[in-house]
């Protein structure tokens, strides 16, 4: 450490005079106005401090079987004021939908209505136990049943399970059912076909179940190459996993033909429904030959998943797969709704079993149902139309300045590639980071893998035209700046709380939990 002046009194580096241009002098705290630095809990808390008052412990003979934890746990605490401040400060270093356009393709970052949050917090939903007598929770079963009805009606599919905890878990669920169905017919088969544009969870899921993954190429126009797919079909193909609309933001025109071909060899059509937002209320996957499809409630149906979760991935099923749905599920009988948690002793058990400890993401069901009821059948179709309209509007306004590998119309997201940056020295990554300076979250980058330097832009329907226009202006401005050779890309972002982070160092020498400086030093020695 040579330049001690860059460290504040806590040893935290303050911004240097070089580096970012905004420091005309060094603040002593390392804070800059409302941009406040924040240390780790482990640096500011103490193990004596607590922000929770617990009543006095009654004096009774312990029955811990001699297993008392006597060693320090080394978990520092904070008082409530410090806690609120710590997390408030941290939060302010994040970008979020509430702050601006979040055009992360494939992620459907739409507005999260706050009514949904209020409803999910009603004690009748939030404070009920998964194993209390079902006779005491008819309303919970009612929500599950009504949500199931909406999902089945919107997809035109006869069965649904609510158990899966996210999209990938839904994929697992759908593919488990497919494998169970095949095993029931006596042959699990060994191959799953997955387009090269697929999301990573698709091949990972197939592999999780022991299937070999065979990749299908894309056509020039960004769709599944049907001929290539048919070529790979055989009696050993268990299923195809196709995303529709696909990850290039395009509707698979030949989807019915694909479904028929797969069915013809006795395989199943798993549809990745992550992009359902583009077609909800407009097209029913059940009309397209789908056998199983997961729906990300945290995308299409607006349940918040800040920082990476939680999600919820219900799966709809065709008649063929319905017998294999996992437990638990809600059954409507004459006596009202029933929660089926275990194999029945009377009937043959075809369910593939259980996927998680309880009944799925109830907290997401209440939010999603609230959202669905708010929009209604009419509003949901409007959602799809506006999502698609917004994406096409961006495409129409930016196709001359950026480069779109596939002609429109697109669905709810629009794909650009890096060719407009050719010769500028600016990469897709640089371009995306420069968007941060302009006040936007970058789009999805380098995915899908079928185009070079992909930029996948999904505005969602909850952006206004003014917001899109501002975004379009900014991207056009950046594209021109890149072409003009302006020097604002390589080091971007300049105006974010941090400059580019060294990901290589992070991976090479993984530091995954806090170690106090002296301990770290000792370890290094």
């Amino acid at each position: 450490m040579t330049e001690l002046s860059f460290l504040n009194s806590k040893g935290r580096p303050t911004r240097s005079d070089e580096g970012q241009g905004d420091a005309r002098f060094t603040t002593s705290t390392g804070h800059h106005g409302l941009d406040l630095e924040e240390a780790l809990i482990f640096e500011i808390g103490t193990t004596e401090t607590t922000g929770v008052d617990v009543p006095e412990v009654p004096d009774v003979a312990s029955r811990l079987g001699g297993l008392e934890r006597l060693e320090p746990i080394d978990l520092p605490g904070l008082s409530e004021p410090e806690t609120v401040r710590h997390f408030t400060r941290l939060s302010r270093k994040n970008y979020a939908i509430d702050m601006g356009l979040f055009p992360l393709g494939s992620c459907t970052m739409k507005h999260n209505p706050r009514l949904n949050e209020q409803m999910a917090r009603l004690p009748g939903f939030a404070d009920i136990h998964p194993l209390q007598p079902t006779s005491t929770v008819p309303g919970a079963l009612g929500v599950m049943d009504e949500l199931a009805h909406w999902l089945k009606t919107l997809t035109g599919m006869p069965a649904v399970t609510l158990a899966p905890k996210a999209g990938a878990h839904g994929e697992l669920c759908g593919m488990m059912a497919i494998r169970a169905a095949l095993e029931a017919k006596g042959n699990a088969r060994s191959i799953v076909l997955v387009p090269e544009s697929a999301h990573g969870t698709n091949p990972a899921t197939a592999a999780f179940l022991g299937y070999k993954v065979a990749s299908i190429p894309a056509t020039q126009d960004g769709r599944v190459d049907v001929a290539a797919l048919k070529d790979k079909l055989s009696e050993d193909v268990a299923a195809v996993m196709i995303t529709n609309p696909n990850t290039c933001g395009l509707f698979e025109r030949d989807i019915v033909e694909i479904a028929d071909a797969v069915h013809a060899i006795g395989g199943y059509f798993y549809c990745d429904g992550a992009n359902f937002n583009a077609i909800v209320g407009k097209v029913r996957p059940g009309d397209l030959g789908v056998d199983a499809m997961h729906i990300n409630l945290h995308k299409t149906f607006s349940t918040p998943h800040g920082g990476g979760g939680p999600g919820s991935g219900p799966v709809v099923f065709s008649e063929a797969l319905a017998p294999f749905v996992p437990r638990p599920f809600v059954l409507a009988s004459e006596d009202g709704l029933e929660l089926i948690e275990h194999a029945s002793e009377q009937e043959a058990d075809t369910s593939f079993g259980r996927m998680c400890a309880f009944h799925g993401q109830m907290g997401m069901f209440t939010r999603a149902l609230t959202y669905m009821k708010s929009h209604g059948a009419d509003g949901l179709a409007q959602v799809a139309e506006d999502a698609v309209l917004n994406a096409n509007y961006i495409l129409s306004q930016l196709k001359d300045d950026l480069s779109a590998p596939y002609a429109g119309p697109c669905m709810h997201e629009v794909l650009f590639d890096e060719s407009f940056l050719k010769g500028t020295g600016v990469s897709t990554l640089d371009f995306a980071k420069a968007m941060i300076d302009e006040g936007f979250h970058p789009m999805t980058m380098y995915f899908p893998l079928v185009v070079a330097g992909a930029m996948l832009v999904e505005p969602t329907e909850t952006e206004s035209k003014a917001s899109l226009d501002e975004f379009i202006d900014a991207l056009r401005h950046l594209a021109r700046a890149a072409k003009a050779g302006e020097d604002r890309f390589k080091g971007a972002p300049y105006f974010a709380p941090m400059q580019r982070l060294d990901e290589t160092q992070a991976a090479r020498n993984p530091v995954l939990s806090y170690t106090p400086p002296d301990a770290a030093q000792q370890a290094a020695e």
Partner: protein, 454 residues
């Protein structure tokens, strides 16, 4: 529609900018006969007030724990979650952010994930924790799959004390890929101390990838498994410890201190509450040597171009978005917000608060257990326990629970609810007493049981 900013005139002008006369021209790739001509058969949009009314009606049909004398546990625990925790997770910058793939504008999320990993690792006394999985049961499954990868073996031994739902998840989700899953029978009594452990010790062999135990177990028993760990390790297998009630670890020895190789758990009790089962919070921690075989996201420390400390998602070459079919797991979305709630609550508790909370839970449970065990027809089956214990009743536990529920006493989880196939568990009741249980609740339960068993 209140969530849709476009006005009709916006739509018109945008369509003409695009050069599409009609919105359905943008759906021209959809086979014409598949495009719906009118809305599906579901109700139309509704005012916020009316939606709220519908949803409240559902909520009011349920008996909330706060309106009952409440003793349910068995994998989902009711703790008081400070008001500030919910305030924190409702900050728009946390709630409506995405996975922190752009670290320059996601340090808020990244730093709390780093803090979360540190807290979990310290609580379990493990080297590294990941940034969360779906829930305890899927964390358990992932741990087993990791053990099969690490050991390249395909036999798994499950303790009879493992939560039966966890057991079922493991059985279902490994049925096509793991050769042998052996599960010991559940035994509610602690009369024969260590019998389950003894079975595991004697059954584990060179073919076993791992042994899975739960601590405290489904019946509330707590047992030292240091010796088991030795036995397991001597065969080259891994010891996986499942903790469904992490508050316990404020009072009882850490699994890491007893030789666990992987510790997984369920964090809902300290983060997001009961919620009828989800979303919950899967905790996953392991010894450092398994790092590159771990499932799920990891957040690591690094520096930015100016040398300032910062955090990023790291070691993503384990993950599906990079490694696709070779990934360590297919997980993508995890339980980020729940992890935030956990981190904030743990920060509020701190070591002093956690220990006091744990000891308070334990003492209250002991008081309740003694009180209930004194009732005719009730036998306490535990020698040792944390905040949950099992009672043998002189009667059908499920019927009694159902009966008491009508009086707003949620007496606990009857054996038949989770072990419908085991008639010998028909009369047992698993009772959990956390800090939320008041004296009057215990009175109500004692009185209720007395009457039912009279």
């Amino acid at each position: 529609m209140r969530y849709l900013p476009l006005t009709d005139s916006d739509r018109q002008s945008m369509l003409s900018a695009i050069g599409a006369p009609l919105i359905d021209d943008l759906f021209s790739d959809v086979p014409a006969d598949k495009l719906l001509k009118e809305p599906v058969d579901l109700p139309h949009h509704q005012a916020e007030m009316l939606v709220a009314r519908d949803m409240r009606r559902y909520a009011n049909q349920n008996l909330g724990a706060g309106d009952a004398a409440f003793f349910c546990g068995a994998g989902a625990y009711r703790h008081h979650i400070p008001a500030s925790v919910d305030t924190i997770i409702q900050r728009g910058e946390f709630l409506t952010a995405y996975t922190p793939y752009q670290p320059e504008i996601a340090q808020g999320t990244l730093q709390y994930l780093f803090e979360f990993q540190t807290q979990v690792a310290r609580l379990f006394d493990m080297d590294v924790a990941n940034a969360s999985l779906y829930d305890g049961s899927t964390a358990c499954l992932e741990a087993i799959l990791m053990a099969t990868r690490v050991t390249k073996r395909s036999k798994v031994l499950l303790s009879g004390g493992l939560h039966p739902h966890y057991r079922d998840v493991v059985r279902s989700m490994t049925r096509f890929t793991v050769e042998t899953i052996i599960c010991n029978d559940p035994v509610a009594t602690q009369d024969a101390p260590g019998s389950d452990t003894d079975w595991l010790k004697t059954t584990v062999d060179e073919e076993a990838a791992c042994v899975v135990v739960q601590y405290p177990n489904i019946f509330g028993h707590i047992e030292d498994f240091s010796q088991l760990a030795d036995a397991v390790h001597s065969t080259g297998a891994l010891l996986i410890v499942v903790v469904t009630e992490p508050v316990a670890l404020g009072a009882i020895k850490a699994p890491g201190a007893m030789g666990a190789d992987v510790v997984v758990g369920e964090g809902q009790g300290l983060s997001v509450g009961l919620q009828y089962g989800g979303p919950y919070l899967g905790l996953f921690a392991a010894r450092k040597k398994f790092l590159r075989q771990m499932p799920g996201r990891l957040c690591g420390e690094t520096v930015d171009a100016e040398g300032k400390r910062g955090f990023v998602l790291t070691l993503s070459t384990r993950e599906q978005h990079i490694r696709r079919e070779k990934a360590t797991s297919n997980i993508c979305t995890n339980s980020g917000l729940c992890a935030l709630a956990f981190t904030a609550h743990m920060a509020l508790l701190g070591e002093a608060g956690l220990k006091k909370l744990a000891h308070y839970n334990h003492s209250r449970a002991v008081q309740a257990a003694e009180r209930l065990a004194a009732i005719d027809g009730v036998t306490l089956l535990n020698d040792s326990f944390f905040n949950e214990f099992t009672l043998q009743l002189a009667g059908d536990a499920e019927a009694i629970v159902e009966h008491l529920a009508q009086r707003s006493i949620l007496a606990g989880v009857p054996g038949a609810r989770i072990y419908p196939e085991r008639t010998q568990l028909k009369d047992v009741l698993i009772v959990c007493v956390t800090e939320t249980v008041q004296d009057e609740d215990i009175d109500a339960l004692a009185q209720g049981l007395k009457e039912c068993l009279a």
